[in-house]
Symmetry: C2
Subunit: 249 residues, 2 copies
DNA sequence: ACTGAGGAAATCATACATTGTTTTGATAGG
DNA sequence: CCTATCAAAACAATGTATGATTTCCTCAGT
């Protein structure tokens, strides 16, 4: 079941209340086949993204069905859907495993972001309305107000910031791609703190971006976004490396 | 079941025989859940890509099951997998429909190609071995020999040409993305002829590309690929427009 | 226009057959 | 006593079949 909130753009939600969860851009459904509130699909997917299911862990259909109180049928479908989305791998007759969200995976998707987001941004700069810009500034002020005290909230706001830019883009495919990748990166980075250097960079880059949007400097904005995404990706990777080193040592 | 041919790189296949079908880069599986030769997944997917199933056509599970001589379970799973891959859309309690492969869809994916492929190409230029280059030249000579007389064969060879460049790239995610998009574009363009202008452009661009690879001009090669992909995408779009206009008129 | 009956089809739950994989445990050989 | 081997049993994926329930659509009748 699609929750009612889904039909609203993120901006509308932000305007109504400060309590929100990051929402996908319009036209992207995040449900399973199911009609239930939280589908098996969502539950398994969250378990993977949030790391509650370990990398390469076997996904035994009957276990999952028991755990989620359903029959095997919905589980089987959920796993296929997840396979199509790349979160699960299958080996014939041996079932499904959790696709590891490792450093390579993260590198792959942020590199794709570096290639795609500048283009989305360039379009936004040329099409931004006064309201769009006001919303960016509004979100930016919330980000600065929060100032990384609540990292989950920061993550939500940061996602909202970028969603404002990409939500109206004509290339829904690219926007979807961005959103999917974003969700993965968000989940991974939720387990880390932002370094002071990264905090400063984020704030200044956002401010600079708004300035470029206001001035209509599409190319500068695109270049900046490339740096921004690159920096964000590297930051996450460094955290992962550090954690792995600590674990090994 | 994964056919034995899948484990070979395209190059090996080309070296062994001139009879071949375009193969995905290694590490990409194209099977359904099934253990059967041609899974329901493949059949439905081909029907969509090849246009045998019309845009937005309803996909009634019981019908599909009957048509393919299976029970409903495999069909449901195949549809979920296709949904995850973006070929099918679902509305809760109302089932699945064929995602229309229309002009917008084609534009969306070739634009993403324009963003991603130059980066893959840049990497290739810096990493290409003598064998890689020899293979490119070999394929190019086959392309020129064929000279668009057999358009399907041209399409296969052209895909092979690009596969040689991307198959070893470290970013498997990007390579997979390219492959998926490629398959769609290939299926769509199969129904059109190449204009003379386009034929000339393809041949000269391929030759120029090989020259850049030999010279190690990564940036020039990347720029050229951007033009190449752009041109190919526009060409397909123009054909679609023409066809739609003819149909409407 | 509104309503309500009927049907079509999705969704889910079971149960079961078949097939392939993995584990286990007994046994033979060193 | 240890190790390699192999068959049987346990396990689980995959496919089939069937029924219950729910949702949505259609269409006659008001």
């Amino acid at each position: 079941m699609i929750s009612p909130g889904y039909v609203y753009g993120l901006g509308k939600i932000l305007a109504e209340t400060s309590e929100f969860k990051a929402q996908p851009p319009e036209g992207i459904d995040a449900t399973g086949a199911s009609s239930e509130g939280a589908s098996v699909y969502q539950l398994i997917r969250d378990d993977i993204i949030e790391g509650r299911l370990a990398a390469n862990e076997r996904l035994v259909i009957t276990d999952l069905a028991r755990r989620h109180g359903t029959s095997t049928n919905p589980v089987r479908e959920a796993l296929q859907l997840l396979r199509g989305e790349g979160f699960v791998t299958f080996v014939p007759n041996r079932g499904a495993r959790v696709r590891p969200i490792d450093q390579d995976f993260v590198r792959d998707i942020y590199e794709i972001g570096v290639l795609i987001e500048p283009s989305l941004t360039r379009w936004f700069v040329n099409m931004a309305t006064v309201e769009d810009i006001a919303e960016l500034e509004r979100i930016q002020s919330l980000i600065e107000e929060n100032n990384f005290t609540d990292t989950v909230r920061h993550s939500e706001l940061d996602t909202a910031f970028h969603t404002v830019m990409y939500r109206k883009h004509y290339n829904r495919h690219a926007a979807e791609l961005w959103w999917k990748h974003r969700e993965v990166l968000r989940a991974v980075s939720r387990r880390f703190d932002f370094t002071l250097a990264r905090r400063a960079a984020i704030l200044s880059e956002h401010r600079e971006l708004i300035a470029h949007v206001k001035a209509g400097n599409a190319n500068e904005a695109a270049e900046l976004i490339a740096r921004h995404v690159e920096g964000s990706g590297r930051h996450i990777l460094e955290h992962m490396r550090a954690r792995n080193a600590a674990r090994a040592g």
